[in-house]
Symmetry: C2
Subunit: 249 residues, 2 copies
């Protein structure tokens, strides 16, 4: 049923963390839900803390409850590239795989809701629709990774920054289900260094481009790392992508 439909799970913030399961499958059956409920554990990491190293055996899977983590990969000489950004509701871990291919690092203070991988896999074995949902989520990640390849390979510094802001604005809108009227705001959790690592730039270039966007009135930086975008369509214009009339989602 509903095969082919992309149903990114709706984020429902909740102290009791139903997210963790909803992130896996929004069409779940009650018994699966209860089973997962039983085996869940929470853990919080400090900013900068490494959650898991590439190659390491990771015996847990789970999802982000709150905060931001990054998947990154490092060359022997220290050059680093972030290959994925994990925001609240994102799935963490590699079902059916022994080790990780990339480092997982907390970008901010972050809370994960984790559960034992082998128990989770046993459940996947019993419920084919979970595997189906995992395949869909992986295809989404693959699409996102490929979009990012376009950014890394062909976009200018200015376009890269604008694209990042567009993506973060969209993720935030999705998370809070708000439809902004004139202008929109979102929190910029991550540091300049994390942005640089993500965009394939240096922190100086990131800083200069943000200053430039600010000088031109395309963005405003407020308190508590909030970014305000007076005209979203104008920001999209700067991102190099098709405008699509400046639609948020």
């Amino acid at each position: 049923m509903a095969a082919g439909a992309t149903h990114r799970p709706v984020q429902t913030r909740c102290a009791d963390c139903p997210i963790r399961y909803r992130a896996v499958c929004s069409h779940c059956e009650a018994k699966d839900f209860e089973e997962l409920e039983r085996i869940k554990t929470y853990r919080t990491y400090a900013p900068g803390e490494t959650i898991a190293w590439a190659g390491e055996h990771m015996p847990l899977v789970g999802s982000v409850v709150d905060g931001v983590a990054m998947l990154s990969s490092t060359l022997p000489d220290g050059r680093r590239q972030m290959v994925g950004l994990l925001l609240p509701s994102d799935f963490v871990g590699r079902p059916g795989r022994a080790g990780l291919s990339f480092d997982v690092v907390a970008a901010t203070e972050i809370t994960l809701c984790m559960f034992n991988k082998s128990e989770f896999e046993r459940m996947v074995g019993r419920s084919p629709h979970i595997e189906h949902r995992l395949l869909e989520m992986t295809l989404d990640e693959l699409d996102a990774a490929r979009e990012w390849m376009l950014l890394l390979g062909r976009k200018t510094a200015r376009e890269k920054i604008a694209s990042l802001f567009v993506i973060m604005a969209r993720r935030d809108a999705e998370l809070h289900r708000h439809v902004p009227r004139d202008g929109l705001s979102f929190p910029l959790h991550i540091t300049r260094e994390a942005m640089a690592d993500y965009l394939g730039l240096t922190i100086e270039t990131v800083s200069r481009q943000i200053s430039a966007l600010r000088r031109q009135g395309l963005i405003e930086l407020g308190d508590n790392r909030m970014v305000h975008v007076p005209d979203f369509a104008k920001l999209i214009d700067q991102s190099g992508d098709d405008a699509d009339g400046g639609v948020l989602v």
Copy 2:
């Protein structure tokens, strides 16, 4: 069983195309095999021909029998980035998804072995192990895409070219199951333009870097687009990645 093991299907070149199915699952049951055998069709495309456009509905899935295709994505102003390279035995198409996210273009003359997507999906519904295998393949692609993000974001032109040659040498060795003794050779099917699109460079830079590698004796260009690598470890040294003792696979 054998969950967690990565079993990239072994390529068995064959006029009757068992590849197509082996590419999906090397642990298949005979009845699935026969069903797929019944519904397969072949098609050949000319170099440069577009197999499918991004956003288009693609009612077929299949695999590459012979030749090279590329997945690519284009900015409104024409800048292009290749986001995937499809070599023999690679899977083509998006099971469970309506449309494509990227253009599929033949880089060389290419033969695909295709079958009807909805029939394939019906089969997937009946055999959970096929879906399991699809998830594994998608995770492999995701890893490859993320490796490529590191290349696009952080490697120099020289390192990009060397990395590409290393990858193509490995893919070729895997395909022919040969263990090269001193030096190895592989065919360079794709044009300078395709390389540039893949690496996020211009054709001039690609050409210059290849000339430089040749001048330094790291590669030799022979007839029929063959590339000979006298010392594979030295080439890996230039790729920026960890050496791993110059191991081929």
